[in-house]
Symmetry: C2
Subunit: 649 residues, 2 copies
Amino acid sequence: MRTGIATVCLSGTLREKMQACANAGFDGIEIFEQDLVTSPLSPEDVRKMAADLGLTLDLYQPFRDFDSVTAELLAANLRRAEAKFRLMSRLGMDTILVCSNVATASIDDDGLRAEQLAALAALAQDHGVKVAYEALAWGKYVNDYEHAHHLVETVDHPNLGTCLDSFHILSRDWDTAPIESFNPEKIFFVQVADAPKLSMDVLSWSRHYRVFPGEGQFELAKFLGHVVRAGYTGPVSLEVFNDVFRQSDVERTAVDAMRSLIWLEEQSAKWLDANPAPVNAAENGAGIRLPGRRRYPMELATLPQVAEPGGFNFAEVRAADTAALETLLGQLGFASNGRHRTKNVQLWTMGHARVIINEDSSQESRDAGAAAAPAISALGFDVESPVIAAARAQQLKAPTVPRKSQADEEIFQGFAAPDSTEIFLCQGSPDGTAVWTREFGEGLEAAAAGRTGEQSAVIDHVNLAQPWQHFDEAVLFYTSALALEPQPYAEVASPTGLVRSQVMLTRDRGVRLVLNLAPLVQREGSGSGSGQRRTYQEHIAFAVDDLVATARAAKARGLEFLQIPVNYYEDLDARFGLDPVLLATLRDLNLLYDRDADGEFLHFYTATVGSVFFEMVERRGAYDGYGAPNAPVRHAVQYDHLHQLNRTP
Amino acid sequence: MRTGIATVCLSGTLREKMQACANAGFDGIEIFEQDLVTSPLSPEDVRKMAADLGLTLDLYQPFRDFDSVTAELLAANLRRAEAKFRLMSRLGMDTILVCSNVATASIDDDGLRAEQLAALAALAQDHGVKVAYEALAWGKYVNDYEHAHHLVETVDHPNLGTCLDSFHILSRDWDTAPIESFNPEKIFFVQVADAPKLSMDVLSWSRHYRVFPGEGQFELAKFLGHVVRAGYTGPVSLEVFNDVFRQSDVERTAVDAMRSLIWLEEQSAKWLDANPAPVNAAENGAGIRLPGRRRYPMELATLPQVAEPGGFNFAEVRAADTAALETLLGQLGFASNGRHRTKNVQLWTMGHARVIINEDSSQESRDAGAAAAPAISALGFDVESPVIAAARAQQLKAPTVPRKSQADEEIFQGFAAPDSTEIFLCQGSPDGTAVWTREFGEGLEAAAAGRTGEQSAVIDHVNLAQPWQHFDEAVLFYTSALALEPQPYAEVASPTGLVRSQVMLTRDRGVRLVLNLAPLVQREGSGSGSGQRRTYQEHIAFAVDDLVATARAAKARGLEFLQIPVNYYEDLDARFGLDPVLLATLRDLNLLYDRDADGEFLHFYTATVGSVFFEMVERRGAYDGYGAPNAPVRHAVQYDHLHQLNRTP
C-alpha cells in the first residue's frame, strides 16, 4: 500500500512538514495549497526538496467551487484552473483535487455539471493534469460519492476521475459497498480520515474533529477493503483537519499519522480475509465465494500478530526519595522483596500485584523540577511472546527503550508510550507468577521487619494522565501496539475542570488502562504565554477479595486514607438506601461505593506522594466500571489537599 | 433585580466558590449538589458561611429523573427526595430544582405526571420545601417550558412551581412571549445562560458551551423582559456549564458573571422601554399601549449611558529599549513630537494616528521575562464624556487603573481590560485632535531630524491577543463597558494552529478592535505539566489614503517590511486576474491585497519588535474587512522568522 498524507494535517511550515513526512516514512504527500502559498519555497524548490527526500507529490488540493455555475463564472473558473495547472507543471505534479461546489453553485443540472467537468478535463489534458472530483459531504448539489462517480462516468474522459474521502462518505453514513463496482481506473485518489461520532453540523465536525485512523469510530477497514476490492492501487492518503494536530509537534504527529496507516493496512487485510467477496455474479452464476484478498492488485502488508496481553506484569514507580512510597505500600499490606541484585530497584508484592520502586531519579522523562517526587515510570504487560510483541510495536514505530541487563537476567523488551511511560513486554505465565522476581532479595533482612502475611491481590487498573496534545495518539498507540480496545469516553467534573477519561480494555479484563486528559489550569498573575500547568496525578489500583478487611488492616498500620466527606455518605444513602451497618463501615473506613445492574464496587484511595497515589478495589458480581460517580469526590478532596499545600508559602 | 449564580459555573471548592460569589457582589447562590457532596463543609457550615458572607441560598439543584416513572420507582424517588428535603432543612434552603426526566421516564401520560408531581409537592410541603419543576431541552417527554408550566397549573399546589431556564427555552427556539401570561406565583425560579448558536446536539451544547449573558447569541434581554412583565420578582440566577470557566480563576469568573447580569439587567430595561406591552385586552378593549416598564414589580437598575466611542484616541506601546520602535515609526512616516513634560513617554503622530511610546518598563502587567521587549500596553478611546463612561465601566466592575497626573494635565479615566491592556477614556473632539498632545514637546530638537512632512492617517484597527481563559470575558467587557458590537468570529490557519479572530466594532467603524485567541504551542521534551506557550503578537493598523505612496516612502526610509512569498502573488493573480502593473507594484512593495463585492483592501506589515508589529492599510470603496484571506500568509511568515530566531542557540 502506498502511503500518503496531506500537509494540512500537520503544524509548521511546508519545509518542516515535508521533512517530518519523510522522516516518518511516508511514500508521498498531498500539497495543501495554502501551505505552498504561504511558503518562501518556490514550486521548483518544493519539487527538488520532495525528490531529495524521496517523497512523491501525489495531489494538489483543493480546487473549490468549480461546477454548477453560470457560463460567466465557468470562464473565470477555467482561467483560475489553468493557472493552477501551470503551477502543477512547475511542481511536477499531475493530480488535482476538485471538490464539489458549496458556495457559488447556482444551477442544479447534472447535464450542465457533466459539460463543465468535461471542459475542465479537456483543459487538464492539455496540461497533462488529472482531475480527481470529490463530493464534499456538504456540497450544495453534489454531496454523495456515488453522485460524483456517476458524473465521472457520464463525462468518461481519461483526465477525469473521482476522489474517495472516507470522511465525506462515512460522516453521511453512505453505504461503502458500491465502491467495489467502481472502475478502478476512474478512482484517481483515496483519502482516509477517522472521526469520533459527534452529532454536530458536518462542516464543523470535518474541519476540527477528524483524527487519524484508529483514533475515531468510523469503519475504515471496511471502507478500505471495498476500495482494495475495486482494484484501486494508488496512494492511501491521510487528510485530517484537527485543531490539536495543527498545534502539536510536527515530527510526533507525522509518526502518529504513519502508525495509523500501518495499522489500517493490517486491519483492512484482516477485514478482507474475514469478508470474502462473492465472485462477480455475471462471471459466476453459482456465487461461489473466493478467499478475500487473493486477487487484488494492491498489496496489503501485515504486522506480527499478537494476542491481547493477559494482565499487568508489574507497575514501576520512580523516585529519588522512596521512603514515603515504601511506607504507603507497607501499610497497604505489600511485602518488601528486597533489592534487585544489580539494579537500584526494589520489588514490593501483594499476591500477584508487583510494584517496582526505581530508586534512580536521574532520567529526565518527567518535569525536571518534579523528578525527585514519586511518579509512575513504567508498566509491564504479560504477553505470549515478548519478542513478537516487541517486533510489532517496533513496526508500529514505537520508540524502543534501552534497559541494561546482566547476562543471566531476564531481558525486557520495552518502548515508550506517547506520555513517555515505559511499556515493557514480559513473558506471561499461566499461574500469574513472574520468573524475574528471583533476581530480587538483596537487603531483605532490613525490610523484612515490616513483612506481613501476604494477601492475594492483582493490579486491577492503572490510570495515566495524558498530555492534551497526545491523547488521540495514545489511544491509537495502545490499540495498535498492545491490542487494547478503546471504550466510549467519560467526562468527570473536578474543581479544575472536566476530566476526560478513556478506558482501554482487553476483552477478558486482564488489562484495564485508563487514560485521563486533565484540564489545563491557569495561574493568574503570570501573564500571557506562560503559567499553564496541569495538576497531574496518576494511580495504580489493586483488586482484593475483601476490601473491608484490607482497609481495616491498612488502618491498623496507620495508612493515610484519602478523607471522604461526610456529605458523600449521606448522598450515597439517599441514592442507594444502603444497609446502615454497611454505610457505617464505609464511612468509618473512608470507603467509596458504587452499584449498577451488574454488581457492586467498593474502593478506597491513599494520600498522594509526588504524583502517585494508590487505590484498592473490590469488585462484587460482574461490576465492570471504576466507580465513576465517585470520581468528582476524589478530585475535589485531592484538589483541596494540593491547594492547601500550595498555599503554604 | 436579585442576582444569583449556580456554584457549577465556577472552578474550585464550594468554599472558594462562595467566597468568590460574595466578593463579586451576588445576592445569592444556587448550590449544585455535587459541590456539596464533595465538600468537607457540613450543611450547617455552609449555612453559616453563607449567612456570614451575606449570600442567600436560593436553590438546591438538580433533582433528576423524578417524573413519568412506574409506581415502584416513584416510591424510591420520593424516598430520595425526602432525604434531600431533610438536607435542605439543615442548609436552611427552601427551593429545589426538579428537572424533567431524561433517563428513567417510561410512561408518557400527563395525568400520571401530574399525580406524581402532586405527590412530590405534598411531601415537599411537609418539609417546608418548594419544588421548581423545569423542562430540560432534552427531557424525554417534557422538554417544552409551556408543557412544564401546564403540569404545574394542573397540579395547582402551593409547593409546586416552575423554573424557567433561558438555555432550555432558547436552544429549542421556543417563543418566549407566552411567559408574560404565566401566573408569577407559579414561577419559582429563573435561570439565565447565553450560548453561541451551534448546530450540535443540545445536550453537548448545554454541558460545554453555555456562556454568561452578552457572550453568546441568545436574545436574553427579550427573554428576561417577558419574565419581568409576567410579574416575577425572584432571583435571576446564572446557570452556565462551560469547560473554560470550570478551569479558570474563580474570582475572575465570578466578576465576569456578575458583570453579565448587570449588563443584562440594563438591556432588559431597555428592551421593555422599546417594546411597550399592550394593556390586557380584557381590561382595555381599545388596546392602548402603556409605557413598557411602569407597572412591573421587579426593579431593573440602569447604568450610566454612553454612546459608542468615536475612535481611537491613541495607542500606547511600552518598552524598556525603545530604539527599534522609534526607528520603525519613523520609517513608516510618523513624526516624533518629543517627550511628555513630566512623564517618561514619547508621542509619535501621523495625522490623527497617535502612538505613545512608554519608556517605563517597570510595570509587571506582561511576562516578567518579556517586560523589556515592546508590547501594546494601552489604548485610548474618544468618548463624549470620559467621566460618565468611566462611571459606567466602574459599575460594570472594570478594575480601575491609576495614572499619575500633574495639576494642569489632562486626567485620563482608565481601567484594565481582561487581557490587562489599559483602556483610557479620552475626550473626543470633532476634528480628531487631542488637547493633551500639547503636554509633549520636550527633547524635540534631537528627534526633529527624522521629521518628515506629516501625512494623513488614523488608527484603523488594533489587534489584541487574548488569553484563552478570558476570551469570552473580553467580548462581554468591550460590549458592556465600551458599547462595541461583536461580529461573528472567524478562524484563520497558522503554522501553530487555528487562530480564532473576533472583531468588535462601532456602527460607524470609528473603532475596530480585533480580539485574537491564538492556539497553545507545546514545546516537546519538556514533559507533562509545563512547556505550554502561546506565541502572541499584537498589532496596530493605520489607515492612509495612498498605501502605495506610503509604502514607497517607507521603503526609501529603509523600513523592514514583512516579506511576502512570491507564491502569494501568483495565487493572487489566479484568484483575481489583477492588472499586471498593480500586481508588480504589490509584489515589489510586499503589499497584500483583497477584494470583495464592496471594495478593495491593500495593506502591508512591518517586522515585529518584541510582541508588536504595525500594519498600514488602505480601504477602497466600502471594503469593511481586514484582509482575512491574507492572514495565513502573515502568520506563516511571522512564524518562520520567530522560529529562525528561536533556533539560534
